[in-house]
């Protein structure tokens, strides 16, 4: 059951997955190839900066991959009115669990692309002894970010259904209003900032997305 669901998810999402895996693989190499000619061999600070660009690019790829697979994956059932999924002899919680598990597994592909690309890119650079490359950590973090992004969009899509766009737009407006409130209402700034810090800093729920993403660091 899980194997077949995994296969269906793979077949439904494979174009996106191939794209994100290829981009995840190529991005670190391209960024370093473009940046290296402009760097001095001993410029540790510049190497760290380039490593950060690679890291942030990987983060964006991972998040977008997670969001896309969740959004697109819902479409497979939505276009047939969910009749097939609902007519199968399985509880809804188990069906959703299998679907989420299969998606989590196929999201390892873009992370794998990031790992191989980042490892190859790092091997092209003679790092000073004070610096190290973290391709494995970067890929692991990309995987966690992809899972988190997927989980959020998956929950939104399967709970809100066709109202997901509306819910998403409302969330964006709420964040905008809170951003405006930090400027317009000074007394509320502290509370909003603390709440925001809790959400985006480790060990907050979105900490993995907003921490320090880098391929090369001390």
């Amino acid at each position: 059951m899980f194997g077949q669901t995994l296969y269906v998810q793979w077949k439904w999402n494979r174009d996106f997955l191939a794209f994100y895996t290829a981009v995840g693989f190529a991005a670190p190499l391209l960024i370093l190839w473009i940046a290296l000619p402009h760097l001095g061999l001993t410029s540790a600070r510049e190497l760290v900066s380039v490593g950060r660009v690679v890291g942030i690019t990987s983060a964006v790829i991972a998040v977008v991959a997670g969001l896309t697979v969740a959004w697109h994956g819902y479409g497979i059932d939505d276009r047939v009115g969910h009749i097939y999924a609902l007519s199968l002899p399985i509880t809804r919680s188990r069906a959703l669990g299998i679907r989420a598990g299969a998606a989590a597994l196929i999201l390892t592909l873009p992370a794998l692309g990031v790992w191989v690309g980042a490892s190859l890119a790092a091997s092209q650079v003679d790092l000073p002894t004070t610096l190290h490359s973290y391709s494995g950590s970067l890929a692991s973090r990309a995987l966690l970010a992809a899972w988190l992004a997927h989980a959020c969009m998956f929950a939104l899509r399967y709970s809100a259904g066709r109202r997901a766009q509306l819910v998403l737009a409302t969330l964006v407006i709420c964040i905008g209003v809170l951003g405006f409130a930090t400027e317009a209402v000074p007394s509320a700034r502290g509370v909003i900032m603390r709440a925001g810090d809790f959400v985006i800093s480790n060990p907050g729920p979105f900490g993995v997305l907003f921490g320090r993403w880098t391929l090369i660091d001390v």
Binding site: M1, G3, Q4, T5, Y7, V8, K11, W12, I76, R79, V80, G81, I83, Y84, L86, S87, L88, P89, I90, T91
Partner: protein, 301 residues
């Protein structure tokens, strides 16, 4: 358990204009139950409710001994379901669809699935999204039959199919039913098709089940009577009057249900003369039943 499907007091509302209210329905074990009704009468909604796809607002549903929706997944494991439209994943091939479907059913019969695939002339490598309407109908029927169901729920299974494919599909169902003694609930607005295969019938209209009876009772019990000197009030008739229309002179035409031949004597006691008893075919019976139900509904409103 004498009924494969048992529904009591079922209520469901979809939007502002459609509701199922206090629906009671019994599908006897081993029967082929024709679920008749015009488009939009609530047949598909009722089917989705009894398969646990929609949550009822009120009432109880029991399917193969399981409460629905709480135990729907247990019931669904023993049900073959063919929806009115293609519901399968379009990017999968026929073979992949069979494997995917099989993975959810412990009762899946690989040999039977392959036999039906060949009999229906479906190519294993063909994509579902590229199947013709007839091929898609055959594939859905194959999936429903290969799970060796105790209950087949068919929602307009032959709607839009050409006569050859329709015959193939119906033949496969009848062969399965005769071999395995399964119960069938088949929804359709194609009355003549139901007449050939069903032994029970339920007529749905405006979210209500307006008639439910054995097919023979429906077919033989509804008659058109030509009467002269008809009484003005006909309250104490031993049969039900579905419609009453004036024809030439003092003659009237009544459409009645629950008719038996020995009821002719009632006219002698009421100073009326029964001129003719006309048999109605299933379609006429269906139309008259609907018309009577709507008139009764209109009067009640």
């Amino acid at each position: 358990m004498t009924h494969a499907i048992s529904i009591d007091g079922l209520a469901y509302r979809a939007g502002r204009h459609f509701a199922i209210r206090d629906l009671r329905m019994r599908v006897p074990n081993g029967s082929v139950y024709g679920f008749l009704g015009p488009n939009g009468s609530g047949k598909t909604t009722t089917i989705r409710l009894l398969l646990g796809m929609l949550p009822p607002a009120d009432g109880t549903i029991t399917v193969l001994g399981h409460d629905v929706p709480s135990g729907a997944h247990h019931a669904l494991a023993r049900i073959g379901y063919v929806p009115e439209r293609l519901h399968l994943y379009p990017m999968l091939t026929v073979d992949e669809t069979l494997r995917y479907h099989a993975s959810f059913y412990a009762r899946w019969d690989v040999t039977e699935a392959e036999r039906l695939r060949c009999a229906f002339d479906l190519r294993a490598e063909q994509r579902v999204g590229r199947l013709s309407k007839g091929e898609a109908g055959k594939l859905m029927m194959l999936l429903a039959l290969a799970v060796r169901p105790e209950l087949l729920v068919l929602d307009e299974p032959t709607d839009g199919l050409d006569p050859v494919v329709r015959r193939d599909v119906l033949a496969a169902v009848l062969e399965y039913v005769s071999t395995h003694g399964a119960t069938v609930l088949v929804s359709s607005h194609l009355v003549h098709e139901q007449e050939r295969v069903c032994d029970w019938i339920g007529v749905m209209d405006g979210g209500r089940l307006v008639a439910e009876m054995p097919m023979h009772a429906f077919r033989s019990g509804i008659k058109r009577l030509r009467i002269s000197g008809a009484p003005l009030l006909a309250a104490a008739t031993p049969f039900g009057i579905l419609a009453r229309r004036t024809s030439a002179g003092r003659e009237e035409e009544w459409v009645v249900r629950d008719w038996r031949d020995d009821m002719t004597s009632w006219f002698a006691t009421s100073d009326a003369a029964l001129r003719e008893v006309v048999d109605l075919d299933l379609e006429e019976s269906f139309v008259e039943t609907l018309r009577a139900a709507r008139e009764a509904g209109g009067r009640a409103a």
